[in-house]
């Protein structure tokens, strides 16, 4: 079964508006998602060692339990979230579709050599604003691009509700397409390539 990111939508739109407007001058700000998850954003180069080692570099934090991802409306801006404190607190750092496509091997705290491997939740959290994920990150004069969209999931074994005759609805999943000059058009979510990458 291919591993993909499940999309979770939240009614607390103010949190996602905050995400959409973050920039380094707002480092240190705190916001909460429906008073359930408290987040802080700090201007920090979490991708300092990503190219060479595919790990996230993070400042010294209490023990990180899991990593997950958040996005502003339509997936226009993406953030990694390092969860700590019973999963009720998180440090946010901006990422891009590439970081979703190539899984991280772990995290390393500033000044440490140890690589930690918190669990990765295959989830992406979005505002429930009725706008589907739709965004293209292009590079090299729009010659190459990664495109995010979403697609429905169906469970062929799901039983229909006898009263409504409707099958339970599964959350949508994130779709990542790539347009590479050398490889033409690649749809990673459905290809064995991504499965191999994800399993690597």
């Amino acid at each position: 079964m291919p591993v993909t990111y499940t999309i979770h939508r939240h009614a607390d739109l103010s949190f996602f508006n905050w995400l959409a407007q973050l920039n380094p001058s707002r480092s240190g700000e705190v916001a909460h998602l429906n008073k359930e998850l408290f987040c802080t954003y700090v201007a920090y180069d979490a991708l300092a060692e990503w190219v060479d080692e595919r790990i996230y570099t993070l400042p010294k934090l209490p023990q990180i339990s899991e990593l997950t991802y958040f996005a502003s409306s339509q997936g226009r801006r993406l953030y990694g979230a390092a969860l700590f404190g019973d999963g009720k607190r998180a440090l946010l750092f901006e990422v891009f579709p590439l970081q979703l496509l190539l899984l991280p091997y772990g995290i390393r705290h500033e000044g440490s050599t140890e690589i930690l491997t918190p669990g990765l939740r295959y989830e992406i959290h979005l505002p429930d604003d009725k706008k589907p994920v739709s965004n293209i990150f292009s590079q090299q004069d729009d010659y190459a691009g990664l495109m995010l969209s979403e697609e429905t999931q169906s469970d062929p074994l799901a039983q229909a509700n006898p009263q409504t005759a409707l099958k339970p609805v599964l959350p949508n999943r994130l779709r990542i397409d790539a347009c590479l000059p050398e490889l033409a058009y690649v749809h990673f979510n459905q290809s064995p390539v991504l499965e191999t990458l994800l399993g690597a």
């Binding site: 909460h32 700090v42 201007a43 920090y44 180069d45 190219v51 400042p59 490889l183």
Partner: protein, 70 residues
């Protein structure tokens, strides 16, 4: 082939967030974590206890004081 593909992907699509310099460190992480904890406690009706401030460290003038005479 797989390594080549990964290398190509990284080469084409890696970018840093706008305004973040390579290797940039957070100057205010302790203060940010304190604010985070304070907000969490306030939302859950708990009293936040600020960690005791560290006593100021004595500072020494490291420049050699060679200007003396017996």
């Amino acid at each position: 082939m797989l390594r080549l593909l990964i290398s190509l992907l990284i080469q084409l699509f890696f970018r840093r967030p706008a305004g973040i310099a390579p290797g940039q460190k957070a100057q205010d992480i302790d203060a940010a974590l304190e604010r985070l904890e304070e907000a969490y406690c306030a939302a859950h009706g708990k009293r936040y206890r600020r960690p005791p401030a560290r006593p100021p460290q004595p500072t020494f003038d490291l420049a050699p004081d060679l200007d003396f005479s017996l």
